[in-house]
Symmetry: C2
Subunit: 147 residues, 2 copies
């Protein structure tokens, strides 16, 4: 079995972010990986679904849980192009995610701005993978929005 | 138009909590009220849906947003039988909820355990409405679970 790299999976998450961009959604994308296989893909759909809870991570958690038939993602890695917000970090805590890998930091709404630890104590975190590319896509989106 | 009381709406949320109880779900229920009318009802379905994000509040937000065709609930009141967790508080922040009314405090997972304010600055909060009844239902559930 070929082992994919972190960058490969983050590129797949970035593809999802680009899908969001094309639909005039804040461009954030995510994939859930279990045993080196992508079991869920999602992008932000808050506008399309008129639903503030429809962040890429939330949709990816629901989709992965549905695939596994389990509400726990304790053997899964979530790749997301932007640092999760408080809501998504809270959801990842309930799901007992094994590992969170994110691209760009969210200096306004990122969960790490909160003093208390929000993720599950067992969740490992890695950040900065393709962070620059994610950040540029977001900048491009907000520039377009202001025009 | 008859004006209903807080207790009336919380009783409706408690009915939802009882539905959860009957399905062996942690008994938490919620209703969303807009202009004195219930526009969404939900109860915790994490077991039934195998989805850690399927808390009563999350399902109620999605349902209310769908009804209104808007991701903002800035003219809505959420009644929920138990204090929301971090995930749900984060979701209520994004939805810019007008008012949160909850029953029992959640001493283990309640959002108010977090030092930073998690709700939207404009969200008003009222707690303790039918709190004892909600607490007793939860105690009964966890007692049954341990048997």
């Amino acid at each position: 079995m070929e082992l994919y790299t972190l960058e490969y999976f983050m590129r797949e998450a970035l593809k999802e972010a680009h899908k969001a961009f094309e639909k005039d959604e804040v461009p954030v994308g995510a994939v859930v990986v279990c045993q080196n296989k992508i079991i869920a893909r999602a992008h932000n759909q808050t506008e399309q679904l008129n639903d503030a809870t429809a962040h890429a991570e939330m949709l990816a958690i629901t989709s992965a849980s549905n695939y596994l038939g389990s509400k726990y993602l304790s053997e899964c890695v979530l790749y997301v192009t932007l640092e999760p917000c408080v809501m998504c970090a809270g959801a990842l805590n309930w799901a007992q995610l094994q590992k969170l890998i994110y691209g760009a930091e969210d200096e306004l709404r990122g969960y790490s701005l909160i003093k208390n630890p929000l993720l599950h104590p067992r969740t490992q975190v890695l950040k900065g993978i393709s962070g620059q590319e994610s950040k540029e896509l977001l900048s491009q989106f907000f520039k377009k929005l202001r025009e």
